[in-house]
């Protein structure tokens, strides 16, 4: 088992900087999820940790050993690719056994380890098949098996579940969580699915344009987004943003008024004049059923019903607002009508810098 240390890792292609001096410490046995929008450099960073890409600058060490110059095979890591990258001409057995064969593990031990992993992943009856004769989920499992059998210090996953359907993805997510609990290995898991990130991670590292936007526990990121971007990226549907102006006693807009008293902000007077309120859809309720202190008047555009909940899509002046309400509340709202929503929890961002100034 091993910790991972990245210091000022940078990757440039010509003039373009893809990964911009990222420093990150990952503790032994921790499961870190890298999230971020497409193209933000998640895979690039992961591939540098794996050794498939050489960083332009910076150092990477695993288990206290500087591995920046080492081949992937010498870093004691295993990686699961988005495409699985199974060897098409080898049976499942040979795919799983390949890393052991390369390392000249004795045949008896090799068989034993392959069998153990196959049992663990429920692949025992598929060992003689070729990858093309497997379903997507089975292939994914074989790819996991090939990674596990090595018993590496570190696991790297690059969107391992994105080729699976929703149901299978949920199940595999659970299996990976279970695997982590059992193996207690250090893992870096890349995804752009924030749901996956929330459920799996010990710690989430949110990347944007090649730098770390915010890192912390899933709840931390959810409750206390450091920036407007973080608030928007984590959570689904994304956070609603409402422009407000700071008045001496309240935050004001034509559609809402948040009294200073309810905000418990000490240095009110040094705040910028122009602010943005971030309110999560699930924090909004119909005012008539709520005792929450703040009110917001919206014009309902349409209501989306998922069965358990309803999403009310509405407008408040220039801003669009989504509210997640109970199914029965959803019934009562008609498109085109004006309703009043109530909320208590919110984040306040500086409109210009996008940085959070308060969470309440």
């Amino acid at each position: 088992m091993a910790s991972i240390e990245l210091s000022s890792v940078t990757k440039r292609y010509g003039e373009t900087t893809i990964v911009d001096g990222i420093s990150l410490s990952i503790a032994d046995g921790e499961l870190v999820v890298l999230v971020g929008p497409s193209g933000c450099g998640k895979s690039t960073l992961l591939r540098m940790v794996a050794g498939l890409l050489a960083p332009t600058a910076g150092r990477i060490s695993i288990g206290g050993r500087d591995v920046t110059q080492l081949e992937p095979g010498d870093r004691d890591i295993a990686m699961v690719f988005q495409s699985y990258a199974l060897y098409p001409h080898m049976s499942v057995r040979d795919n799983i056994a390949f890393p052991l064969k390369v390392r000249r593990v004795r045949p008896a031990e090799l068989d034993e380890r392959v069998r153990r992993v196959a049992d663990m992943l429920g692949l025992a009856h598929l060992l003689d098949r070729r990858p093309r004769d497997l379903s997507g989920g089975q292939r994914q499992r074989v790819a996991m098996g090939r990674a596990i059998v090595r018993e590496p210090k570190v696991f790297l996953f690059d969107e391992p579940l994105s080729n699976l359907d929703a149901a299978l993805r949920t199940r595999m997510r659970a299996e990976i969580a279970e695997l982590h609990a059992r193996l207690k290995a250090t893992m870096i898991y890349v995804t752009h699915d924030q749901h996956e990130a929330m459920t799996l991670a010990d710690r989430i590292v949110l990347l944007n344009h090649g730098h770390i936007e915010q890192q912390g526990t899933p709840l931390d990121l959810y409750r206390r987004p450091r920036t407007r971007f973080a608030g928007e990226f984590m959570g689904s549907p994304p956070m609603n943003f409402l422009s407000v102006a700071r008045q001496p006693d309240a935050l004001m807009s034509p559609h809402l008024r948040v009294a200073r008293g309810g905000l418990r902000i000490d240095d009110w007077d040094v705040l910028p004049e122009e602010l943005v309120l971030g309110v999560r859809p699930e924090a909004l309720r119909l005012a008539e059923h709520s005792s929450a202190p703040h009110r917001l008047d919206v014009q309902v555009a349409w209501v989306e019903r998922t069965g358990s909940d309803s999403y009310v899509h509405a407008r408040a002046g220039e801003s669009s607002v989504v509210a997640r309400v109970t199914a029965s509340d959803g019934e009562r709202v008609a498109a085109g009508s004006t309703v009043t929503l109530a909320f208590d929890n919110m984040s306040v961002f500086d409109r210009d810098s996008g940085l959070a100034v308060a969470h309440c």
Binding site: A50, P72, G73, A85, Y87, P88, P99
Partner: protein, 721 residues
């Protein structure tokens, strides 16, 4: 090619003559053709009542065409051809005796060369013989005897120049020495052994010229001799009258008769070959043909040929024409004519040229003593001239064939019934009707020649007679009765060479193709596209051109490869003297031709391998070699199998390279099965049946091979992704 095919070709060119028309065939070109045209124009003006049709036939296929067209009644009334096929023509009854023109019109020596069985078989129009050309700026006086020849040549040799140049490995060019030393080829009509003391002495002389004194280069083609002479790199050239038209305008040249052989005091005696006007059976009883014969052989026509065509002509009256006398070439030809030997026309000579040439090649390079080389050639002719298979009982074979056909039909019917072919046809009637014309066309174009070829293997020609020999040809091929199976003559030897040839070629094609494909694969490589095109080029150039270029590169004295070897201080190699080096030369040529195909296939297969497999393997700890063996090879392999199967068949039958580069040297050892079959058909008295049988054996081998690989393929492809 079967004679049937040549018949088709001939019919395509020459529609049968209409009634009363006189048809004349010839193979003349340039000045000689021009002279003939003048003569014909003159004749047409004088004899408007005789309709003449003249057909110029390409020289290469000429004897073949005569052999096949005349018995079909599609041939000419008269034709002009050299005299070396005379006996063959007589035996095949292609020509009739010469009648109607007084024999004293012609030089009696030339006339006698056309006399056989107390009959004359044609009229001599012109003759050709070797004489000595020399550059006046290099040679003051032409040598009178061989000692002088050597002395003059020695003085003018060095610095890439040669004193005396001729195509020393060709029997035709060696003949002057052979006869000058007192040698003989025939006694009555019997071919004598080659290794007579006089012949050995002539061989010693050749060895002196080329090997000991090196005043004569070896491996010289006619074109090379011309070039050396024109560039002042050859002082003297022994050649025929045709050489004149090849000499550059600015070269000061002169002609002399060949020197006297000092050792015997006798003049060197070259062959004299004749342009003969032959009559076919169609000319008998045709008044027009008789008039045309007379006109073509007349002194007037002769004069035109001499003046316009600059041909040494056979008419006695023309020898003293002032124009002819003042033409140095014609005058010297006439003088040389006094010391000549008629070109042998015995059919067995056709078999002798090749072995004789082999012997001369070995002698000229000092690879073997003249005695050993000639002895070997004699033995080889005996094998080549072995008796034809005996006639076989036709009835027995017909019965067998019938049984086979019936069995085949029954089997096909049963298969058809089982596959419900008839029901299928009925259901999709119009579709089958649409493809029917193409199917019938294909069946005719492919099926008929194939059946003909198969049938031909069971027959053999003896003169004009076709004889059914049953499996005799096959027995003769596979039996190796007249020689050991380990000799180049034997089918098994040739087969082994062919297999070695195929295997080594494919191994190198795949190996080198793989190498280049791997080099060209990385996307960061600059100019990748340019390299790709460059590397595919060898494939795009017609292979016989490449083969001829390589032949030149491997030339012993003038080739670039030996020049390079000598530059780095290595000895020059006589590439075609030894099996290994000759085989290597062929191999180099065909590897050059063959690797691009494999490279392209492999490149395609490489690009189809997803790059993340390599990344996964790197993560799994596999180094470059392990990635190559565990990922690249197994994934490229299946894509390569069809190419290897195809390449194997192409290489197995790669005629052009073997035929053009090593030409089978030494002594047929590097011949592969197809070139050997070709030699039997076209270079050894037209043993069509034998050659067809040979081709059938090749066909059977390839059939077996593809049946085997088909199985292999089916299982391999099923396994591949």
């Amino acid at each position: 090619m079967s004679p049937w095919l040549s018949v088709v070709c001939v019919l395509a060119v020459a529609a049968p003559a209409t009634e009363g028309e006189v048809v004349l065939w010839h193979a003349y070109r340039a000045g000689e053709a021009e002279a003939l045209e003048l003569v014909i124009d003159d004749f047409r003006a004088r004899h408007p009542e005789v309709k003449v049709r003249v057909l110029q036939v390409p020289y290469g296929a000429y004897p073949q065409k005569l052999r096949t067209a005349i018995p079909q009644g599609a041939g000419p009334d008269l034709f002009i051809a050299p005299n070396d096929h005379l006996r063959d023509f007589i035996e095949r009854e292609l020509v009739t005796t010469a009648r109607g023109v007084p024999a004293d019109r012609f030089d009696p020596r030339l006339m006698s060369a056309l006399t056989l069985k107390n009959e004359s078989w044609g009229y001599p129009l012109a003759y050709k013989t070797l004489v000595l050309f020399y550059r006046r700026d290099m040679v003051d006086a032409p040598p009178r005897d061989t000692d002088e020849l050597l002395a003059t040549a020695r003085k003018l040799t060095g610095d890439g120049r040669y004193g005396f140049v001729y195509q020393a490995s060709l029997p035709y060019y060696h003949a002057p020495w052979l006869f000058g030393f007192g040698g003989k080829l025939f006694e009555a009509d019997r071919l004598l052994p080659f290794e007579s003391p006089a012949a050995i002495a002539s061989g010693d002389f050749l060895r002196r010229l080329t090997f000991e004194e090196k005043v004569t280069p070896v491996d010289i083609s006619g074109a090379l001799a011309t070039e050396l002479f024109n560039r002042g790199r050859a002082a003297m050239v022994m050649n025929g009258p045709w050489f004149v038209s090849e000499i550059a305008a600015d070269v000061p040249w002169a002609v002399a008769p060949l020197p006297v052989v000092t050792a015997t005091g006798m003049p060197a005696r070259p062959f004299v070959s004749l342009d003969v006007l032959y009559r076919t059976a169609r000319a008998d009883g045709s008044a027009g043909a008789a008039v045309l014969t007379d006109a073509l052989t007349s002194d007037a026509a002769s004069l035109i040929r001499a003046r316009v065509g600059r041909q040494p002509v056979a008419n006695v009256a023309v020898v003293h024409d002032p124009v002819v006398e003042s033409d140095q070439l014609l005058a010297i030809q006439a003088r040389q004519l006094a010391s000549t030997e008629p070109l042998p026309s015995q059919p067995v000579m056709q078999l002798a040229w090749d072995p004789y040439e082999s012997a001369l090649r070995q002698i000229q390079r000092g690879a073997r003593s003249p005695e050993a080389a000639f002895r070997e050639a004699t033995a080889r002719v005996l094998v080549l001239a072995r008796p034809l298979p005996k006639a076989a009982p036709v009835r027995f074979y017909v019965l067998g064939a019938l049984l086979l056909v019936v069995a085949g039909l029954a089997y096909a019917l049963r298969q058809a019934k089982r596959a419900q072919v008839l029901a299928d046809v009925r259901r999709s009637g119009p579709a089958y009707a649409f493809i029917a014309p193409a199917a019938i066309g294909m069946a005719l174009l492919v099926g008929v020649p194939f059946v003909m070829g198969v049938g031909l293997g069971f027959f053999e020609y003896e003169g004009s007679q076709v004889r059914f020999v049953g499996l005799g040809n096959f027995a003769s091929i596979l039996g190796t009765n007249d020689y050991s199976p380990f000799e180049p003559m034997s089918f098994y030897f040739t087969m082994a060479v062919t297999v070695l040839w195929t295997v080594s070629n494919i191994a190198l094609h795949v190996g080198i193709g793989f190498g280049f494909a791997l080099l060209l694969q990385p996307t960061w490589l600059l100019g990748r596209g340019v390299f790709r095109v460059l590397l595919i080029l060898p494939w795009a150039i017609p292979n016989y051109i490449t083969a001829l270029i390589f032949k030149g590169l491997f030339n012993t004295q003038l080739g670039a490869i030996n020049a390079l070897l000598m530059k780095v201080g290595l000895p020059a190699i006589n590439w075609f003297d030894h099996f290994a080096s000759a085989f290597a030369a062929n191999l180099a040529t065909n590897v050059w031709l063959g690797f691009p195909f494999m490279m392209v296939t492999i490149l395609g297969a490489l690009q189809a391998i997803p790059s993340d497999l390599y990344e996964a393997a790197r993560v799994d700890g596999a180094g470059p070699w392990r990635r190559f063996t565990s990922i690249t090879l197994p994934l490229v392999g299946p894509a390569l199998v069809p190419s290897v199967v195809l390449g194997t068949i192409w290489t197995f039958n790669m005629f052009n390279v073997v035929f053009c580069v090593s030409e089978g040297q030494p002594e047929g050892a590097t011949d592969i099965l197809v070139t050997e079959a070709y030699r039997w058909a076209f270079m050894r008295n037209g043993r069509y049946g034998y050659a067809a049988a040979y081709s059938l054996v090749i066909f059977a081998i390839l059939l077996l091979y593809s049946a085997l690989t088909k199985r292999l393929l089916a299982s391999r492809v099923a396994e591949a992704i």
